[in-house]
Structures are given as structure tokens and as C-alpha cells.
Symmetry: C2
Subunit: 177 residues, 2 copies
């Protein structure tokens, strides 16, 4: 099976022909089979392939995090235009239980079990009530949507409100050479 993708991205024309069994397999296990969040947000496709924006370690809930961004987010992060983040930005936080490296390296904290993936999607108009951000979280390997109803975003937004001066985002993108 082959698959053609034609898209315009950051002023680039990209034509990709995926033709190997490896890529076909990955196309088949898309996020489209995962239930949307109670607010209607769907799990962004291919978020595991997004590029890294930062990492973090929270000792209050013992978790390690990789913060990734879609192409719009990466472009904004690398050019320093993240306050506000542009519409179309999608940020993913992959959260793992922290654990000690198993081979006798007690000072190395490494990712254990996958806890959840959570997302912020920027659309200043659509999500005006929550700082311009749509929130979503999918739990565990089964990727179960978090929240009983659409009001779950109030919890997300309340937690993020202290970061109002940083466009409600906790993450500061890393600076690379």
C-alpha cells in the first residue's frame, strides 16, 4: 500500500510517497481511532513525531516530561515569537512516571511508565474563554480522554492562569546553538 501526502507547510511544498511496510503500518495506527476529548478536541495526528521544545522534571508528582511542538510551534519557539504563540500552535506534553535508571545509576532519573499526553492548541478566537487555548489530555496506553464533560477545561485553565503573562504556557522553549 502506498500513501501520498501533499501539503503546504511554512512556505514549503512537500511531497512524500510512503511506500514501505514500516510506514504503512504507522499510517494505520493513527490517532483517528482515539475518542475525542469531552470538549471536542481530537488527538492530534502524528504528535509523537513532533520536535522537542523542552523537557522537565516535576518532583511534586514524580514525573518526567518531554514537551513537543508542531511545525508552527517549532518555528515560533526557534524565532522567539512565543508570547503570544501564533494561532495553529499545538504543544504536546508527554508525561512519564519518573524512575531510577535500572542499571545501578541512582543519580539518573529516567522515564518509566507512560502516564498521559496532554495538549494545548492555540486559536485565539475559538478558545477565547480559556486564554485562546484549547486543552486536551489522553490517559495511558489506551489514550482515554480525560474529563467527564466539556467543563474539564476549567481545571486546565485554572492551573495555567498564573502563567497569564507567558500566554498561559508554563514551558519556556530551550535555547539551542
Amino acid at each position: 500500500m502506498s500513501k501520498y501526502i501533499i501539503m503546504t507547510l511554512s512556505g514549503c511544498l512537500i511531497v512524500a510517497v510512503a511506500c514501505s511496510p514500516q510506514n504503512t503500518q504507522r499510517q494505520n495506527i493513527t490517532e483517528s481511532t482515539v475518542a475525542p476529548a469531552p470538549n471536542g478536541l481530537t488527538l492530534p495526528a502524528n504528535y509523537k513525531d513532533w520536535r522537542v521544545i523542552a523537557v522537565s522534571h516535576r518532583t511534586d508528582n514524580e514525573s518526567l516530561r518531554a514537551i513537543l511542538g508542531n511545525d508552527i510551534a517549532i518555528k515560533a519557539a526557534r524565532s522567539g515569537h512565543t508570547n503570544p504563540w501564533p494561532d495553529g500552535t499545538m504543544l504536546a506534553k508527554l508525561v512519564f512516571k519518573d524512575t531510577v535508571h535500572e542499571e545501578d545509576w541512582p543519580t539518573a532519573t529516567v522515564p518509566g511508565k507512560f502516564i498521559h499526553a496532554e495538549f494545548m492548541v492555540k486559536d485565539a478566537q475559538k478558545y477565547m474563554q480559556t486564554g485562546g487555548w484549547g486543552f486536551g489530555r489522553w490517559l495511558g496506553d489506551e489514550q482515554k480522554p480525560y474529563g467527564n464533560d466539556a467543563a474539564f477545561v476549567e481545571e486546565c485553565f485554572a492551573c495555567h492562569t498564573p502563567m497569564q503573562d507567558n500566554d498561559y504556557v508554563f514551558t519556556h522553549p530551550v535555547t539551542l546553538p
Copy 2:
């Protein structure tokens, strides 16, 4: 200015036409201007765009790390074929000074200043003397090659030798849904 890239990658044909000023700028600051490591290893191009394999936090030297991999590494990591990693694997470790989140979030450790990027490049034949891995490290924003001469790899390899049963790699790839 436009740039054409034609490459075969994991069984895929990818044709990219980069035509925006943004992309032109990024093409100009490639890793090709960085001096090679004393063992001849050159800084892999576009490593900042590689996908995430893991993260870690070392409290002995107070650093946070993002571990990224090239396409061969990602394919191996996601299919569980990492012992040994296949030839062509390139692993990057982006290392940052750990610091506390600046906005009154004392239990969140986040990346501070960029310390260095270090690499393992798998070629079982070429690097037979060091477990099949070529090592390289580039320091700071100036990306200065680490080591006075080619013997610097003895230090790298000595540190990695305890991980012999894991193909000399400390990192265990994260498991994602």
C-alpha cells in the same frame, strides 16, 4: 532562494522544495560550519530536528537531557530493535543545566543554559574498537569539539562500558501508546 533535497529514507521518497526566507535562513546555519570532533566525526546535520527517544535528569551533575534519534534510530526504538541498534543509528543527547522554573514553581525542574550536545553513531565495523559506536561531543553555544585528540573516545567508551549488555547505550527508549 530555493533548495531541492532528494533523498531516500526508510523506504520513502521525499522531495522537498524549501522556498521561504525562514527555511533559507536555517539552511545557512547548518552544522557544516562546526569543526569536527578530534576523531573526525562531524556534527550531524539537522540533529535538532530529530525525534525524541527519551528524557532524563541527572542529579549528580544537575543536568536535564533530551535524547533524540535520527530516522534509523526512531524506527529501531519504536519497533524494539535496539540491542544491538542497527548500523546508521545516530543518537543525540542535548544537555542543559537544570534549574527551577522561574515563576514560583519550585517543584518543577526545567532546562537552563545549554551545556553540550553529544552523539553516538553506530557503525559496527568502522568503530569496532569502541563497541561499534563513534562518539562525539560539541560544547556550548559555540559548539566547540570536545577532546584534545582522537583518544578522547576512550573516556566516552570507558563510561559506557558498564552498559555493554545494552549495546553500550544508557538510554532506554520511552514506550508510547
